[in-house]
Amino acid sequence: MGSVLLLGLLLISLEADVLYEAQNQNLFLHTPLFFEQQMMKAGGFLTWMGSYLTQYFFYPALGVSILCLLWGFLIWLIHKAFPNTWLPFALLPIGCFLVTIVDMGYWVYYLKLPGHSFDTTLGAIAAIGLVAIYRCLPQRLAYTLPFTLIAVIIGYPIFGFYALWGTLLIGLLAATKKQWTVTVVAAIGVVSVPLLAYHLLYHETNMVYIYWASLPMYSHNGKQYANYYLPYIALVVCTVGWCFISHPLSNRKWVLFGRCGAIFLLIIGIIIGWNRNDNFHRELSMSHNMERQQWEDMLTTAQHVKGEPTRAICLMKNIALLRLGRDRKEMLTFPEGSKRPDAPFSIRMVHTIGKQVYLQYGIPNYCYRWCMEDGVEYGWTVERLKLMTLCSLLNGEPTAARRFTALLKKTTFHKDWAKQYEACTHNPKLVLGDEALSPILPYLRDDNFLTSDQSQLELFLFEHLLGTPNNNRQQEELAQRTMFYYRSNHQKLVEP
């Protein structure tokens, strides 16, 4: 448990921003419809639970505490399911879970699996739990065979891939005890239950994915990123290996060697997998500050960039300077750059901080548009619903705003925010005094242009603000700040 607590402390101290963003890019609604929609796919109950628990990253320490409790419970389950396993090796799955969270990086915006941060842990608990229950049963066919069938038939709709994994482990354990009937039934169940579910139960999962239900898809623009699956492969290999450990080691030298090896593997795996990209963490920190109008904190973060910053950092820094009424020349005192985001796939700012930037620049239609596009493709999230509420208020669409606040009122931690802005829908004058909205009001324009940003946030902003008339002084300022960098670095502003 000490190791688990240590890992938890590391998470809170190093990844609080990522965890907060994970809950921002998550949505859990206390409604029957939300539950029903999750259950439309195999593993839906798992993702429903995962979405529910991800909410608690609103207070990162609280969410991490829950995670550590689950990890502790899992270690106990591992001991029950695989009694001959050395305790240090039980930490290897914990390391895998940790890596799936800390190596996420920009996937936090793109992963289409609800509740990802908790899903692997919960799924492993389900899989190992099935094995633990199997171990507790009298080892007679009258008990083990029906249980194996129930595990896969009922488990697959609820836990997806993890039920198949658990059933596979049961089959392997049975094989080590020469209970071939159970092994064969387990194998048949693992292969056939998803097929039956495809034909009889579900219509939202392509045939090619039925065995991987409730696993994340690390795929972007049609390309797979296989190395992100390594923790999952390691999990399965680990547990499969444990099935074949028939007795605990008694040789003290081997025990010591094993413990050191396990801890070494754990540390190496975490170090390799842990995404400590400075720019990514600064972007997250600055976007959270922007959400709360903490402009000074944004400048502090931008000031201490290590190396070349990304355009996202520069854009947010410029907005903070403007909001604080700082002179344009102060921009020169900050690091400037256009470093590509640290991700193996191309990142467009419209999918990350771009929506907030559009809002701050007084183009709520484009903020709304990208919230809608990303909400449809990547899932509805707290952040998108909040931004759509603010955009609707700025556009004078109170009924639309109420639509979104009604949903946010069904969350755990965002009810108060929803009530605050619902009041604005009944009394538009409140917008004038709102801390988040009133600074944007001077940037709103009456003139309209029918155009498209082609997913190029900064280029579009620059061309729109400088290429159209009727900008106010502040918008000119904003455009000039971008133009300063644009003059000599045009090509770098084109996002791939």
Binding site: L33, H203, E204, M207, G375, V376, A400, S452, H464
Partner: protein, 511 residues
């Protein structure tokens, strides 16, 4: 020990899930004996006040929006009544059927009592008029999020209007992968017949799916001579022919306009597809005309469509130019005669001139008796679901008089509509509640073309539509249910499509 624990668990579980609900559910709701009378009507969702419903519709469940800790709703006609307790009134289906049967041709009275601070208030009662006219029992629609470019899960669903049963007919996710998604759209039926349906699938495993009396086929309608595969469909009422538009469609986004997006065609034509011979022929392909939205007259002897006159200033199609001039796109309604025996068309005739009104008319649909033409009007363009000003208009084809169907319209978008097989009901798309999500509304149309107040598609949970983040698209009434499973449809779509042959045009071009 373990066995005893299991038995105790089963007992407690059984009590909680079976016995307790039965005990608590047995107590019938009673009307409060003492209450204060209010002159105000209740605020309810959906708005079912003074609507007209078909006799065979599912229960109109509603939710009280006024501040209240509890509520009782009474639906009554004569000596029959249904009393529902709670802020959500959900009448039992069998009791509802009995009540509407009795109230046929007359009206059900609805009284709502609300409790606040221990005191009851009775709101001013309202009526629900029960028409003698029944409605086709099934409704088909696409469920799609109101996004602009991206899409993820799209389904074509069917819903029984006589109860709350809903099922999926087509699910794009069965054919979509992370490498390539599939869009499904434009489902339509021949004469409300669920055995004769078609829809399009685009991108991954794309093609046109046609089901005709049990025969399923995927058609590859792409051809070098065509702008695109068929888009907006119109089944001939009696023959195995489908008219389509072919379109080159683009989108542009408003920086400040509340409409947010404009969907435009840079080019569009009309074609006719012969199902038996897999042949496509051009119907209309005029160089300075954008033809779209074909629809047949009920006798199959006329093809109505919309067309906008547009001349490019550039030498060829210029997307930037047409975007800048989007507000000049004004569609009128035309028709061409059609000889079903020779399969030839006549010249186009103007039916409704919207551009002289500085408006644009789209989506013409004719009532089964051939008298009424229902269409959508907006300020410009052809994709009126994104226009907050879009309204339904009705034209009497006998007198040629047209006017806004004000009984059906709201302050927000009204668009896609279709007729019931008996011509007494229309279902149409409306964004009247929040301007964002489209919901289907049903309205009665009498023999004089007058509409009654429409009502929103009833749901078992009246709050469901306020939670659902998807729009109902292309609502179409059907005389029965489609007997297709999504997995079967997907297996057809994953196969190769039958290639079409392109034949000569039906009508000559005008220079």
């Amino acid at each position: 020990m373990k066995q005893r624990s299991a038995i105790y668990f089963l007992i407690v579980f059984g009590w909680l899930t079976v016995v307790l609900p039965i005990l608590t559910g047995c107590s019938p709701a009673k009307l409060p004996q003492q209450y204060e009378q209010s002159n105000m009507q209740p605020r309810i969702y959906p708005d079912y006040i003074d609507v007209t419903i078909p006799v065979n519709i599912a229960p109109l469940c509603l939710e009280l929006l006024n501040e209240a800790s509890d509520a009782i709703t009474r639906y009554s006609f004569g000596n029959s009544e249904i009393i529902c307790e709670g802020l959500k009134a959900r009448p039992d289906i069998d009791e509802w059927k009995a009540l509407t049967s009795q109230a046929k041709g007359q009206s059900i009275q609805v009284e709502i009592f609300a409790k606040n601070n221990g005191k009851w208030v009775r709101f001013k009662p309202f009526n629900i008029y029960v028409s003698k006219d029944s409605i086709d029992p099934w409704l088909s629609y696409r469920l799609i999020s109101p996004s602009y470019v991206s899409y993820e899960e799209l389904t074509i669903n069917q819903r029984c209007l006589e109860n709350f049963d809903e099922a999926c007919i087509v699910d794009n996710m069965l054919c979509s992968t992370e490498a390539g998604g599939q869009c499904v759209n434009c489902h339509s039926y021949q004469q409300n017949n669920p055995q004769r349906m078609q829809f399009h699938a685009r991108q991954a495993n794309g093609g046109t799916f046609i089901a005709y009396d049990g025969q399923l086929e995927k058609i590859d309608m792409r051809h070098d001579s065509l702008l695109s595969s068929g888009v907006y469909p119109a089944w001939h009422p009696t023959q195995k022919l489908i008219a389509y538009s072919t379109n080159r469609t683009m989108q542009a986004f408003h920086t400040a306009d509340p409409n947010k997006i404009e969907v435009l065609d840079s080019e569009s034509d009309l074609i006719l597809y012969d199902i038996d011979h897999h042949e496509v022929r051009t119907i209309e392909q005029q160089p300075n005309e954008l033809e779209i939205f074909p629809t047949w007259s009920p006798d199959g002897q006329s093809l109505y469509f919309c067309s906008a006159h547009y001349e490019y200033k550039a030498d060829s199609t210029d997307l930037e130019e047409i975007t800048m001039r989007a507000k000049e796109l004004k569609y009128n309604i035309y028709r061409k005669s059609f000889d079903p025996d020779t399969k030839t068309f006549g010249e186009r005739e103007l039916v409704f001139c919207a551009d002289t009104m500085n408006m644009s008319a789209t989506l013409p649909r004719i009532s089964p008796d051939g008298r009424w033409l229902l269409f959508t009007m907006g300020e410009w363009g052809c994709f009126h679901i994104w226009h907050h000003d879009a309204d339904l208009w009705m034209m009497d084809l006998n007198t040629k008089e047209a006017c806004a169907a004000n009984e059906l319209n709201s302050d927000d978008t009204e668009s896609y509509h279709s007729w019931s097989s008996n011509g007494r009901w229309v279902v149409f798309s409306s964004r009247r509640y929040d301007g964002v999500f489209t919901r289907p509304f049903i309205a009665h149309i009498d023999s004089n073309g007058h509409g009654s107040k429409p009502f929103e598609l009833p749901m078992a949970d009246p709050d469901r539509h306020r939670q659902l983040m998807k729009s109902y698209n292309v609502p179409e009434l059907m005389s029965g249910s489609v007997d297709l499973r999504p997995q079967k449809v997907a297996s057809i779509l994953k196969g190769n499509g039958v290639a079409v042959s392109y034949q000569s045009q039906y009508s000559t071009k005008e220079n």
